[in-house]
């Protein structure tokens, strides 16, 4: 097994100035998103008398623009329009919009088409989780400024990560038609589906991915984890027979168990002064946590035996309340997603039709699917012609915003004696536990620490 060494991290927050001088700005991953509405995220931490007095995460939320933009459009346009909200998780947006539209239109997609939807979602989880684990999160834990520096010392590790990510990309391209902004998904199914032979050929790649994903779990399990557990309310989908993707009920570890259409009866979004984003909270209770840790802790029993065994070997229990261990949970979910894709590929029979027939009608539909970062809720109302009258989208990162602030509050308290630079690095790592989708929410973090009025800031 690979041995990892910890570097003395030279904490530097270099940035490119207006003239292009300076090295590349910290870890920055750009997403496929319209430049003009990309926002700048920021984190303000206020410390008074060596105690945290305030933590504010500022994020920027493009989905609001899209909600307005979609009115008057046809129901059939929603998957393609919403897929453009996020370059990293377009499938999640397509799935949530398709399922909500299908509910509004009174149809449901079953059999091999439903399986293909699960399979393409597996591709997105693999891509997204692998990118985050190897390119963003692992360098944090191991004391590297970015994946490029990590790659110099551990080329084989990074190469394996890239290989696994590539198979995830290929899976999305195989079923989605193309890699970024897939175009093959539609309300009612797909435009085109693979033949049995094509599916069989593809499954060879997944067999390679299965090995790589097992190594990914072992790799992430070796990270040094700070001792930091929080009493979260975890919220995720739960389905009677499967690890959740597209369907189920919304449940929590504190007693919630609701139908998706009841979303707004239990959750509310509040405007807060410091952000254009809305803070999502459970009515009467407050912050909640969505994403891999929530999904895992609420659905451990639905993982495959192989994924459960890998989790056990990685020292994970059936529930996990340390947000830093999300890197291991993402790896376990990646392994599960590869296995699930393989299972679907092996059992595949080509459907008679690539999609089911849809008759426009008026109606309301809700859907909540499991994006890599957590539940993504969509609601639409349609008029008689199938035109969108009203659209609501609640992305995962804005749901986690309050819980990220809470984490930081407690986390900063624990590390308050560190100097500002080190503290900022720790905070960045703590925020990254949530893999905040930078296009849906924060572009990248600028951090400001205000210690009794003395302000230090990263750019």
């Amino acid at each position: 097994m690979l041995e990892l060494k910890l570097l003395d991290r030279r904490v530097k927050f270099m940035s490119v100035d207006e003239n292009g001088n300076g090295a590349t700005k910290r870890r920055k991953i750009k997403v496929n998103y319209m430049a003009r509405v990309e926002g700048e995220g920021g984190l303000d931490i206020k410390i008074r008398d060596n105690k945290v007095s305030d933590v504010k995460l500022h994020i920027f939320e493009p989905p609001r623009f899209f909600e307005a933009f979609m009115r008057e459009r046809m129901y059939s346009e929603a998957p393609d329009i919403t897929a453009r909200i996020c370059g990293i998780c377009p499938i999640a947006y397509q799935m949530s919009s398709c399922h909500a539209m299908e509910q509004a239109l009174g149809v449901s997609v079953d059999g091999p088409l439903r399986e293909l939807r699960r399979m393409i979602y597996c591709g997105e989880w693999i891509e997204s989780h692998v990118l985050h684990v190897y390119m963003l999160h692992a360098p944090d834990f191991l004391g590297y400024e970015d994946a490029i520096r990590l790659a110099k010392d551990y080329p084989d590790v990074v190469k394996k990560g890239l290989h696994l990510k590539k198979i995830g990309n290929e899976l999305v391209t195989f079923l989605g038609g193309r890699e970024i902004h897939p175009i093959n998904v539609k309300v009612g199914g797909f435009y085109k589906v693979p033949s049995k032979k094509e599916m069989k050929d593809f499954s060879e790649k997944l067999k390679v991915a299965l090995e790589l994903a097992q190594e990914m779990v072992a790799f992430s399990a070796q990270m040094p984890f700070p001792d930091f557990e929080q009493d979260y309310e975890y919220v995720a989908n739960r389905h009677p027979d499967e690890y959740p993707f597209n369907e189920g009920r919304i449940v929590s570890n504190k007693g919630m168990d609701i139908d998706i259409s009841e979303f707004y009866d239990y959750f509310e979004e509040r405007h807060v002064e410091h952000s254009t984003s809305l803070h999502a909270v459970i009515k009467g209770r407050g912050a909640y946590h969505v994403g891999p840790l929530a999904r895992y802790s609420l659905n451990y029993d639905k993982l495959s035996p192989l994924a459960q065994e890998a989790a056990r070997k990685a020292d994970l229990e059936a529930t996990c309340y340390n947000p830093f261990k999300s890197i291991v949970v993402r790896s376990v979910e990646t392994l599960w997603a590869v296995e699930e894709a393989l299972r679907i590929a092996d059992a595949y029979e080509m459907p008679d039709q690539p999609s089911i027939k849809i008759e426009p009608r008026s109606g309301e539909g809700h859907s909540c699917t499991e994006a890599p970062r957590g539940i993504l809720y969509h609601r639409y109302r349609l008029d008689d012609e199938g035109k969108i009258v009203d659209a609501k989208i609640v992305p995962p990162t804005s749901q986690n915003q309050a819980v990220i602030e809470n984490d930081l509050y407690h986390f900063v308290e624990k590390f308050i004696d560190l100097d500002d630079e080190k503290l900022q690095w720790k905070c960045e790592q703590a925020v990254r536990n949530y893999d905040p989708c930078i296009s849906c929410s924060c572009h990248f973090l600028r951090m400001k620490v205000d210690r009794d009025g003395v302000v230090s800031e990263t750019k």
Partner: protein, 162 residues
């Protein structure tokens, strides 16, 4: 076909439906239409893992991508990245890709997978939104880039060979 040409790949990067961002892809398509090429030509979205895989194994790579305009719409910038990183400010701010070209090249370099000769042709663009048309000036630079790649790139002097 010379030995260098046989070992060359031209990669056009961009999104065909995002205005000037399509320029790299258009250059690749026009090259392919010429036929009888003495070099490999591919289109890429800019996604890092696919991009890195597309370069791997070649001796020379010519990457064509749109860059943020600096006042000369359609102008071509030839940037040699064989030995040193690309100037980040030209590529990252307006890049619509998921892990900039700059980072992809550096990651390939760190892994020892970067071709010996790396040339980036950056074409200044102005509009990058989905549904935008390509600017006239950028449009007219497509043919120029194609000709340069076909007839002049062979003579380009790389840092590597200096």
């Amino acid at each position: 076909m010379t030995e260098t040409q046989r070992k060359t790949v031209v990669i056009g990067i961009g999104n065909a439906s995002c205005g000037d961002d399509a320029v790299g892809v258009q250059v690749a398509r026009q090259l392919k239409e010429k036929g009888n090429l003495e070099m490999a030509v591919v289109e890429e979205s800019g996604e890092p893992t696919s991009l890195m895989a597309a370069m791997k194994g070649y001796e020379r790579v010519i990457l064509v991508d749109a860059i943020l305009g600096h006042g000369a719409l359609g102008a071509m910038h030839m940037i040699d990245a064989s030995k040193s990183p690309l100037p980040a400010e030209l590529f990252s701010h307006y890049s619509t890709h998921s892990f900039g070209l700059v980072e992809s090249i550096e990651l390939a370099r760190a892994l020892g997978e970067l071709p010996l000769k790396v040339l980036v042709i950056g074409i200044e663009g102005g509009q990058f939104e989905p549904g935008d048309e390509m600017s006239e000036q950028v449009q007219s630079s497509i043919g120029k880039a194609v000709d340069w790649i076909l007839y002049q790139s062979e003579n380009y002097s790389y840092a590597e060979s200096r």
